[in-house]
Protein backbone atom coordinates (compact mmCIF):
# COMPACT_ATOMS: atom_id res chain seq x y z
CA UNK A 1 0.00 0.00 0.00
CA UNK A 2 1.15 3.51 -0.77
CA UNK A 3 0.00 6.47 1.24
CA UNK A 4 -0.35 10.18 0.68
CA UNK A 5 -1.15 12.12 3.86
CA UNK A 6 -2.04 15.77 3.96
CA UNK A 7 -3.30 18.18 6.61
CA UNK A 8 -5.65 20.82 5.24
CA UNK A 9 -6.55 24.01 7.07
CA UNK A 10 -10.13 25.27 7.45
CA UNK A 11 -9.29 27.68 4.60
CA UNK A 12 -8.42 24.73 2.33
CA UNK A 13 -4.68 25.37 2.26
CA UNK A 14 -2.40 22.38 2.75
CA UNK A 15 -0.34 22.63 5.95
CA UNK A 16 1.63 19.42 5.81
CA UNK A 17 2.23 16.72 3.23
CA UNK A 18 3.82 13.34 3.42
CA UNK A 19 4.01 10.36 1.10
CA UNK A 20 5.10 7.00 2.38
CA UNK A 21 4.70 3.31 1.73
CA UNK A 22 3.67 0.49 3.98
CA UNK A 23 6.09 -0.91 6.52
CA UNK A 24 3.89 -3.91 7.32
CA UNK A 25 4.50 -7.39 5.92
CA UNK A 26 8.06 -6.63 4.93
CA UNK A 27 7.23 -3.36 3.20
CA UNK A 28 10.18 -0.99 2.82
CA UNK A 29 8.23 2.20 3.52
CA UNK A 30 8.71 3.52 -0.01
CA UNK A 31 5.56 4.65 -1.83
CA UNK A 32 4.85 3.12 -5.24
CA UNK A 33 1.85 4.86 -6.68
CA UNK A 34 0.27 3.37 -9.79
CA UNK A 35 0.13 6.62 -11.64
CA UNK A 36 3.91 6.93 -11.43
CA UNK A 37 5.33 10.36 -12.04
CA UNK A 38 1.94 12.01 -12.20
CA UNK A 39 1.12 10.79 -8.69
CA UNK A 40 2.52 13.90 -7.09
CA UNK A 41 -0.13 16.18 -8.48
CA UNK A 42 -2.78 13.55 -9.13
CA UNK A 43 -2.87 12.64 -5.43
CA UNK A 44 -3.30 16.29 -4.52
CA UNK A 45 -6.03 16.54 -7.10
CA UNK A 46 -7.88 13.45 -5.89
CA UNK A 47 -7.70 14.53 -2.27
CA UNK A 48 -8.82 18.02 -3.15
CA UNK A 49 -11.84 16.60 -4.90
CA UNK A 50 -12.60 14.52 -1.82
CA UNK A 51 -12.91 17.67 0.28
CA UNK A 52 -16.37 18.18 -1.21
CA UNK A 53 -17.37 14.77 0.07
CA UNK A 54 -15.99 15.64 3.50
CA UNK A 55 -18.26 18.66 3.62
CA UNK A 56 -21.25 16.43 3.03
CA UNK A 57 -20.24 13.59 5.31
CA UNK A 58 -19.06 15.66 8.26
CA UNK A 59 -22.63 16.63 9.23
CA UNK A 60 -23.89 13.06 9.23
CA UNK A 61 -21.74 11.81 12.05
CA UNK A 62 -20.74 13.22 15.44
CA UNK A 63 -17.32 11.58 15.16
CA UNK A 64 -14.04 13.13 14.21
CA UNK A 65 -13.02 9.95 12.49
CA UNK A 66 -15.01 9.75 9.26
CA UNK A 67 -13.46 6.54 7.86
CA UNK A 68 -13.17 6.06 4.12
CA UNK A 69 -15.16 8.84 2.54
CA UNK A 70 -14.22 8.69 -1.10
CA UNK A 71 -12.41 6.63 -3.67
CA UNK A 72 -10.93 7.13 -7.05
CA UNK A 73 -11.41 4.02 -9.15
CA UNK A 74 -8.81 4.55 -11.92
CA UNK A 75 -5.95 4.14 -9.43
CA UNK A 76 -7.95 2.18 -6.85
CA UNK A 77 -7.28 4.96 -4.34
CA UNK A 78 -9.26 5.28 -1.14
CA UNK A 79 -9.44 8.45 0.91
CA UNK A 80 -9.94 8.45 4.67
CA UNK A 81 -10.56 11.58 6.66
CA UNK A 82 -10.17 12.71 10.24
CA UNK A 83 -11.73 16.00 11.19
CA UNK A 84 -10.50 18.08 14.13
CA UNK A 85 -12.69 20.37 16.20
CA UNK A 86 -11.63 23.45 14.27
CA UNK A 87 -12.37 21.87 10.90
CA UNK A 88 -8.79 21.02 10.09
CA UNK A 89 -8.84 17.92 7.92
CA UNK A 90 -6.36 15.08 8.01
CA UNK A 91 -6.71 13.34 4.66
CA UNK A 92 -5.09 10.02 3.91
CA UNK A 93 -5.08 8.59 0.42
CA UNK A 94 -4.26 4.91 0.45
CA UNK A 95 -3.63 2.82 -2.58
CA UNK A 96 -2.89 -0.90 -2.57
CA UNK A 97 0.23 -1.76 -4.49
CA UNK A 98 -0.13 -2.47 -8.17
CA UNK A 99 1.59 -5.85 -8.11
CA UNK A 100 -0.99 -7.69 -6.06
CA UNK A 101 -3.93 -6.46 -8.08
CA UNK A 102 -2.19 -7.02 -11.36
CA UNK A 103 -1.38 -10.61 -10.50
CA UNK A 104 -4.80 -11.21 -9.03
CA UNK A 105 -6.44 -9.68 -12.00
CA UNK A 106 -9.51 -8.53 -10.16
CA UNK A 107 -10.37 -6.52 -7.12
CA UNK A 108 -12.37 -9.27 -5.47
CA UNK A 109 -9.31 -11.35 -4.73
CA UNK A 110 -7.56 -8.34 -3.21
CA UNK A 111 -10.47 -7.77 -0.91
CA UNK A 112 -10.41 -11.36 0.29
CA UNK A 113 -7.05 -10.62 1.85
CA UNK A 114 -7.41 -8.76 5.13
CA UNK A 115 -3.82 -7.70 5.73
CA UNK A 116 -3.18 -4.00 6.03
CA UNK A 117 -0.77 -3.71 3.09
CA UNK A 118 -3.17 -5.47 0.73
CA UNK A 119 -6.70 -4.47 1.48
CA UNK A 120 -7.66 -0.81 1.70
CA UNK A 121 -11.14 -1.40 3.13
CA UNK A 122 -10.82 -4.26 5.61
CA UNK A 123 -11.68 -3.58 9.27
CA UNK A 124 -8.02 -4.15 10.17
CA UNK A 125 -6.89 -1.45 7.78
CA UNK A 126 -9.58 0.89 8.98
CA UNK A 127 -8.55 0.34 12.57
CA UNK A 128 -4.88 0.90 11.72
CA UNK A 129 -5.69 4.15 9.97
CA UNK A 130 -7.82 5.28 12.88
CA UNK A 131 -4.92 4.65 15.25
CA UNK A 132 -2.59 6.50 12.92
CA UNK A 133 -4.97 9.47 12.74
CA UNK A 134 -5.33 9.59 16.51
CA UNK A 135 -1.59 9.61 16.97
CA UNK A 136 -1.16 12.36 14.41
CA UNK A 137 -3.96 14.30 16.11
CA UNK A 138 -2.05 14.18 19.37
CA UNK A 139 1.13 15.37 17.66
CA UNK A 140 -0.84 18.06 15.91
CA UNK A 141 -2.24 19.43 19.17
CA UNK A 142 1.27 19.59 20.60
CA UNK A 143 2.44 21.47 17.54
CA UNK A 144 -0.35 23.99 17.91
CA UNK A 145 0.73 24.60 21.49
CA UNK A 146 4.19 25.64 20.33
CA UNK A 147 4.27 29.42 20.71
CA UNK A 148 6.45 29.76 17.64
CA UNK A 149 3.92 28.10 15.37
CA UNK A 150 1.44 30.47 13.70
CA UNK A 151 -2.04 29.06 13.15
CA UNK A 152 -2.79 28.51 9.49
CA UNK A 153 0.85 28.40 8.40
CA UNK A 154 2.51 25.28 6.98
CA UNK A 155 4.10 23.05 9.61
CA UNK A 156 7.82 23.08 9.00
CA UNK A 157 8.91 21.42 12.21
CA UNK A 158 11.26 18.53 11.41
CA UNK A 159 10.31 16.94 14.73
CA UNK A 160 6.64 16.81 13.74
CA UNK A 161 7.51 15.30 10.36
CA UNK A 162 9.74 12.71 11.92
CA UNK A 163 7.04 11.72 14.41
CA UNK A 164 4.36 11.44 11.74
CA UNK A 165 6.72 9.23 9.74
CA UNK A 166 7.15 7.18 12.93
CA UNK A 167 3.37 6.87 13.35
CA UNK A 168 3.08 5.76 9.74
CA UNK A 169 5.71 3.11 10.25
CA UNK A 170 4.05 1.93 13.44
CA UNK A 171 0.47 1.57 12.22
CA UNK A 172 0.52 1.41 8.45
Amino acid sequence: MSYYFVIISPADTPLFELTFGTSKAGGDGVPRFRNGETARYMNQFIVHAALDVVEEVQWLSPNMWLKVIDNYAPTNSHISCFLTGTNVRFMLLHQPSAITTASAGSRSSTISSTSIPQNPTSPQTEEAIRQFMNEVFELWVKTLMNPFYTIGKPIKSPVFRQRVVGAGRKWL
Binding site: M145, N146, F148
Partner: protein
Protein backbone atom coordinates in the same frame (compact mmCIF):
# COMPACT_ATOMS: atom_id res chain seq x y z
CA UNK B 1 23.28 17.44 53.53
CA UNK B 2 21.21 18.66 56.47
CA UNK B 3 20.36 22.07 55.07
CA UNK B 4 19.28 20.45 51.83
CA UNK B 5 16.88 18.14 53.62
CA UNK B 6 15.45 20.96 55.65
CA UNK B 7 14.96 23.04 52.55
CA UNK B 8 13.22 20.15 50.81
CA UNK B 9 10.86 19.75 53.75
CA UNK B 10 10.03 23.44 53.88
CA UNK B 11 9.49 23.58 50.13
CA UNK B 12 7.22 20.56 50.17
CA UNK B 13 5.15 21.92 53.03
CA UNK B 14 4.74 25.41 51.62
CA UNK B 15 3.87 23.96 48.22
CA UNK B 16 1.18 21.79 49.74
CA UNK B 17 -0.40 24.23 52.14
CA UNK B 18 0.28 27.82 51.20
CA UNK B 19 0.48 28.05 47.44
CA UNK B 20 -2.37 28.71 45.07
CA UNK B 21 -2.14 26.41 42.07
CA UNK B 22 -2.78 27.45 38.53
CA UNK B 23 -3.13 25.39 35.38
CA UNK B 24 0.34 24.59 34.04
CA UNK B 25 -0.68 24.97 30.41
CA UNK B 26 -1.92 28.48 31.10
CA UNK B 27 1.53 29.40 32.39
CA UNK B 28 3.30 27.63 29.54
CA UNK B 29 1.20 29.24 26.86
CA UNK B 30 1.32 32.69 28.43
CA UNK B 31 5.07 32.62 28.77
CA UNK B 32 5.51 31.13 25.31
CA UNK B 33 3.38 33.86 23.81
CA UNK B 34 5.43 36.55 25.53
CA UNK B 35 8.67 35.15 24.16
CA UNK B 36 7.24 34.69 20.66
CA UNK B 37 5.87 38.24 20.75
CA UNK B 38 9.20 39.63 21.89
CA UNK B 39 10.85 37.81 19.01
CA UNK B 40 8.59 39.48 16.46
CA UNK B 41 8.78 42.86 18.21
CA UNK B 42 12.56 42.82 18.17
CA UNK B 43 12.65 41.44 14.66
CA UNK B 44 14.26 38.18 15.76
CA UNK B 45 17.23 39.92 17.35
CA UNK B 46 17.65 37.18 19.94
CA UNK B 47 20.30 39.01 21.95
CA UNK B 48 17.75 41.75 22.56
CA UNK B 49 15.06 39.21 23.41
CA UNK B 50 17.32 37.55 25.97
CA UNK B 51 18.04 40.90 27.52
CA UNK B 52 14.38 41.87 27.70
CA UNK B 53 13.44 38.54 29.26
CA UNK B 54 16.16 39.02 31.83
CA UNK B 55 14.89 42.52 32.59
CA UNK B 56 11.32 41.29 32.98
CA UNK B 57 12.53 38.55 35.28
CA UNK B 58 14.53 41.06 37.32
CA UNK B 59 11.39 43.10 37.95
CA UNK B 60 9.49 39.96 38.90
CA UNK B 61 12.27 38.76 41.19
CA UNK B 62 12.40 41.98 43.16
CA UNK B 63 8.76 41.54 44.16
CA UNK B 64 8.67 37.79 44.28
CA UNK B 65 11.32 37.61 47.00
CA UNK B 66 8.96 39.34 49.42
CA UNK B 67 6.23 36.84 48.67
CA UNK B 68 8.75 34.03 48.94
CA UNK B 69 9.94 35.14 52.38
CA UNK B 70 6.39 35.62 53.59
CA UNK B 71 5.29 32.17 52.46
CA UNK B 72 8.33 30.19 53.45
CA UNK B 73 9.06 32.05 56.66
CA UNK B 74 12.73 31.11 56.58
CA UNK B 75 15.57 33.07 58.04
CA UNK B 76 18.85 34.26 56.65
CA UNK B 77 21.03 31.71 54.90
CA UNK B 78 24.33 30.97 56.59
CA UNK B 79 26.32 30.73 53.39
CA UNK B 80 25.94 30.66 49.65
CA UNK B 81 25.56 26.89 49.62
CA UNK B 82 22.45 27.19 51.80
CA UNK B 83 21.18 29.86 49.47
CA UNK B 84 21.54 27.49 46.54
CA UNK B 85 19.56 24.79 48.34
CA UNK B 86 16.86 27.30 49.21
CA UNK B 87 16.60 28.51 45.63
CA UNK B 88 16.26 24.99 44.29
CA UNK B 89 14.19 23.20 46.90
CA UNK B 90 12.01 26.03 48.18
CA UNK B 91 12.00 28.78 45.57
CA UNK B 92 11.63 26.75 42.40
CA UNK B 93 9.51 24.22 44.25
CA UNK B 94 6.82 26.60 45.40
CA UNK B 95 6.64 28.76 42.31
CA UNK B 96 7.15 26.20 39.54
CA UNK B 97 6.93 22.85 41.35
CA UNK B 98 10.33 21.74 40.08
CA UNK B 99 13.52 21.17 42.04
CA UNK B 100 16.54 21.73 39.84
CA UNK B 101 19.64 19.88 40.96
CA UNK B 102 22.33 22.00 42.55
CA UNK B 103 25.74 20.88 41.35
CA UNK B 104 29.13 21.77 39.84
CA UNK B 105 30.33 23.96 42.70
CA UNK B 106 33.59 25.78 42.25
CA UNK B 107 36.18 25.40 44.98
CA UNK B 108 35.55 28.87 46.36
CA UNK B 109 31.82 28.12 46.82
CA UNK B 110 30.83 31.07 44.74
CA UNK B 111 29.56 29.43 41.62
CA UNK B 112 27.11 26.58 41.04
CA UNK B 113 24.87 25.13 38.39
CA UNK B 114 21.17 24.42 38.46
CA UNK B 115 20.22 21.43 36.30
CA UNK B 116 16.58 21.41 35.23
CA UNK B 117 15.17 17.94 34.61
CA UNK B 118 11.90 19.49 33.59
CA UNK B 119 11.03 23.03 32.69
CA UNK B 120 7.35 23.93 32.79
CA UNK B 121 7.99 27.09 30.81
CA UNK B 122 9.26 25.17 27.83
CA UNK B 123 6.65 22.43 27.40
CA UNK B 124 5.52 22.08 23.77
CA UNK B 125 8.17 24.55 22.64
CA UNK B 126 10.24 24.10 19.53
CA UNK B 127 12.57 26.96 18.74
CA UNK B 128 12.12 28.71 15.38
CA UNK B 129 13.88 26.84 12.63
CA UNK B 130 15.81 29.81 11.27
CA UNK B 131 19.30 28.53 11.99
CA UNK B 132 19.97 31.22 14.60
CA UNK B 133 17.49 30.68 17.41
CA UNK B 134 19.21 27.42 18.32
CA UNK B 135 22.43 29.31 18.94
CA UNK B 136 21.22 32.65 20.21
CA UNK B 137 17.91 32.46 22.05
CA UNK B 138 17.72 31.44 25.71
CA UNK B 139 14.04 30.66 25.84
CA UNK B 140 13.74 30.55 29.63
CA UNK B 141 16.01 33.51 30.25
CA UNK B 142 13.38 35.15 32.44
CA UNK B 143 14.43 32.75 35.21
CA UNK B 144 17.93 34.25 35.28
CA UNK B 145 16.42 37.67 35.80
CA UNK B 146 14.15 36.42 38.55
CA UNK B 147 17.10 35.01 40.49
CA UNK B 148 19.15 38.14 39.99
CA UNK B 149 16.32 40.41 41.12
CA UNK B 150 15.35 38.29 44.08
CA UNK B 151 18.85 37.82 45.44
CA UNK B 152 19.71 41.45 44.97
CA UNK B 153 16.92 42.32 47.39
CA UNK B 154 18.54 40.14 50.03
CA UNK B 155 21.99 41.65 49.65
CA UNK B 156 23.46 39.29 47.12
CA UNK B 157 24.74 40.51 43.83
CA UNK B 158 24.82 37.57 41.46
CA UNK B 159 25.12 36.81 37.81
CA UNK B 160 22.92 34.08 36.34
CA UNK B 161 22.93 32.78 32.81
CA UNK B 162 21.97 29.67 30.93
CA UNK B 163 24.83 27.64 29.51
CA UNK B 164 22.79 24.89 27.86
CA UNK B 165 19.17 24.15 27.08
CA UNK B 166 17.43 20.99 25.89
CA UNK B 167 15.48 23.18 23.46
CA UNK B 168 18.74 23.80 21.66
CA UNK B 169 19.42 20.09 21.48
CA UNK B 170 21.71 19.98 24.52
CA UNK B 171 21.43 17.03 26.88
CA UNK B 172 20.53 19.12 29.91
CA UNK B 173 19.17 22.53 30.74
CA UNK B 174 21.80 24.17 32.89
CA UNK B 175 21.88 27.58 34.53
CA UNK B 176 25.13 28.90 35.95
CA UNK B 177 24.85 31.14 39.00
CA UNK B 178 27.80 33.20 40.21
CA UNK B 179 27.99 35.16 43.43
CA UNK B 180 29.66 38.46 42.66
CA UNK B 181 29.58 39.96 46.16
CA UNK B 182 27.46 40.50 49.23
CA UNK B 183 26.02 43.99 49.13
CA UNK B 184 26.96 45.87 52.28
CA UNK B 185 24.74 48.59 53.61
CA UNK B 186 25.81 51.57 51.68
CA UNK B 187 25.05 55.15 52.50
CA UNK B 188 23.75 57.19 49.62
CA UNK B 189 26.73 59.22 48.34
CA UNK B 190 25.40 62.66 49.22
CA UNK B 191 24.02 61.72 52.63
CA UNK B 192 25.55 63.16 55.75
Amino acid sequence: MASGQKAARVGEEVWKTRVEKVNAELVTLTYGTIVAQLCTDYDYDYAQVNQQLDKMGYNIGMRLIEDFLAKSNIGRCGNFRDTAEMISKVGFKIFLNVTPTVTNWTADNKQFSLLFDENPLADFVELPDDGRAQDELWFSNILCGVLRGALEMVQMSIEARFVSDVLRGNDVTEMRVTLLRYIEDEMPPDDD
